[in-house]
């Protein structure tokens, strides 16, 4: 089922027309209502009436996370505060949190794109959904909630945490859909086993997993552990929260709801558009939002994009799974290191699980050192030190093959690496530069 077929399956020319119309209205709206954007547009030498079609978007300045932080709390609002219906903030690791404000229409839009997303994953009206994203200031819980309401799903708003209760409610109410972070659903599989529940016999048949990057190998783990279809949802609170893009059951890219969230893929350094199919930073313009509309917002997520029609019938552009983060990426001795590479290695080794943490450190006047903590699993634990060392060596060699830098692998006790019921902390960078 396709929730909004007329736009999700629209011919590309028609879609462009729709996007152009939205953009022509958006730019004067922002210019007249947001002083920060007026200054940015003036500085770029762009007059609102020069923006006539979606192709003119390239003339507009980029908005960055720093713009959001620097203008906290109200600077980027285009709507007056008495029009704002809901506010979310995401925790900032440095300085101000990132704030988003929705008008009533924005909340409606959110519900609609999330309904499209659940539909795209395979939900049908009447299904039960367990929403185990955190409810509250984090956008995952409430965004999913609005979408499920809009779609007419029966909702179990369990929020995150209290895993034993999550599993009991799954058994009692048999929801066909689970929405949570991918690391949490894997964690719940372990907990289920510990409680004597066989996860392959679980009730969840479709998973809508997001809020953190995850790899194809992790997808295979989840699908095997729970005997379910695991789909990827993409979003970020600055744009709307979850509901920017979603995979259909073909799992061949995430369909971007591009009639409202216009995607571009740019080189992270030059800000030039990369050729179709190549990786770059995903940059999004919110074409219809009112509260805090954003122009060409740099998501810091590295993806590629394609524009061909999907087998499911949708014509919407599809982005790849997140291949990395422009800010998650760490550079060690000149080599780009993404946590997903380590994850991939661990999933590939018999008996290991992708429960790891990368610690980067630098002693004075020495090279950077990378230590990878890997949790010991029952399946590969042995009473003999030499057997454990064989596994450790194997992990080390394979990581070194992938990263091309030397690493130290340390085996740690299970569940000692902060396991997210929200987001996983994969990198600890102790270098003082």
């Amino acid at each position: 089922m396709i929730w909004k077929e007329n736009v999700e399956c629209a011919a590309r020319a028609d879609l462009k027309e729709l996007q152009s119309g939205y953009l022509r209205k958006l730019i004067p709206y922002i210019y007249n209502n947001c002083a920060v954007y007026r200054r940015k547009l003036d500085a770029a030498g762009v007059k609102p009436d020069q923006i006539k079609s979606i192709d003119d978007i390239k003339r507009l300045p980029i908005t960055t996370k720093e713009d959001m932080r620097d203008n906290y709390p109200y600077g980027l609002f285009s709507a007056p505060q008495d029009q704002i219906a809901e506010i979310h903030v995401s925790s900032g690791t440095t300085g101000n949190p990132t704030l988003v404000g929705y008008t009533r229409d924005d909340v409606k839009l959110w519900g609609e794109v999330m309904a499209r997303a659940f539909c795209c994953a395979g939900a049908v009206p009447g299904d039960t959904i367990q929403i185990a994203y955190g409810y509250g200031l984090f956008t995952g819980g409430l965004g999913s909630h609005y979408g499920a309401l809009e779609m007419g799903l029966r909702i179990l708003p369990t929020s995150s945490g209290q895993t034993a209760r999550q599993l009991k409610l799954m058994q009692d109410f048999k929801p066909r859909i689970i929405a949570c972070t991918p690391s949490y659903v894997l964690y719940m599989a372990e907990e289920a086993k510990a409680m004597g529940i066989d996860p392959t016999q679980g009730n969840w048949k479709i998973g809508v997993f997001g809020a953190e990057p995850w790899s194809e190998s992790m997808r295979r783990e989840i699908e095997a552990a729970w005997n379910m279809l695991a789909t990827d949802i993409y979003g970020l609170s600055e744009i709307i929260g979850p509901g920017v893009a979603q995979e259909c059951h073909y799992k061949d890219g995430l369909h971007v709801f591009s009639d409202v969230f216009y995607p571009e893929i740019l080189d992270p350094t030059t800000r030039e558009e990369v050729p179709e199919g190549q990786s770059g930073e995903l940059v999004i313009t919110t074409l219809t939002k009112q509260g805090i509309p954003l122009i060409r917002y740099g998501t810091r997520d590295i993806v590629s994009i394609r524009y061909d029609k999907c087998r499911c019938g949708r014509t919407s552009p599809r982005i790849s799974k997140i291949k990395g983060r422009t800010d998650d990426m760490i550079v060690v001795r000149g080599i780009n290191v993404f946590p997903s590479q380590i994850e991939h290695v661990l999933v590939g080794i018999e008996g290991t699980q992708p429960h790891y943490q990368i610690i980067v450190d630098r002693q004075a006047r020495k090279l950077d050192e990378v230590e990878v903590l890997v949790e010991v699993e029952q399946r590969f634990f042995s009473d003999e030190i030499k057997q454990l060392n064989v596994i450790r060596e194997k992990i080390r060699k394979e990581i070194e093959n992938v990263l091309s830098i030397g690493v130290k692998v340390t085996l740690v006790e299970p569940k000692t690496i902060a396991r997210s019921e929200g987001k996983a902390k994969r990198i600890v960078d102790k270098r003082t530069l």
Binding site: Q378, E384, I385
Partner: protein, 143 residues
């Protein structure tokens, strides 16, 4: 007769050995023999206890990685050359020992040793033929 050894993965962190011992102690599990093999970052605790089924369940429930291993407990004459006499027999029959350690108690005037063999079944055959007393699980429980 094989007996059951429990091995537990331990990070080299303060208090981890205490955590295991106090957990077992609080649940009435008595440790009969114990050794720790260590590396720079982790160790493997190997123990023989009176209630091994209950102990491993308890450990796993408390998030420890713990496994069973079959080992053999042998009575060795508690006198100079006592161990050597046993090792001589094993060596002559090409029985490889992975590691060994001693029991805290003994039931006779003989010392009690835990041996982990590369091939436990073969080692047992050799020991039986040589009439070397191998301690049973029951005897351990009764210690």
């Amino acid at each position: 007769m094989k007996i059951t050894q429990i091995s537990v993965f331990l990070e080299n962190r303060k208090g981890r050995l205490y955590d295991v011992c106090s957990l077992l102690g609080a649940h009435g599990v008595n440790i009969r023999a114990l050794t720790i093999a260590e590396t720079e970052s982790f160790g493997v605790l190997r123990i023989v206890v009176d209630k091994s089924e209950a102990a491993i369940k308890l450990l796993r429930e408390n998030q420890f990685v713990a496994n069973f291993t079959d080992v053999v407990a042998i009575e060795v004459p508690d006198q100079p050359g006592g161990l050597a006499s046993i090792l001589k027999i094993l060596s002559e029959h090409d029985v490889n020992i992975e590691y060994m350690y001693g029991f805290v108690e003994k039931f006779s005037d003989k010392a009690l040793l835990v041996m982990r063999f590369e091939d436990t079944d073969f080692a047992q055959q050799v020991l039986a033929k040589q009439k070397i007393h191998v301690v049973t699980e029951k005897e351990i429980e009764g210690l």
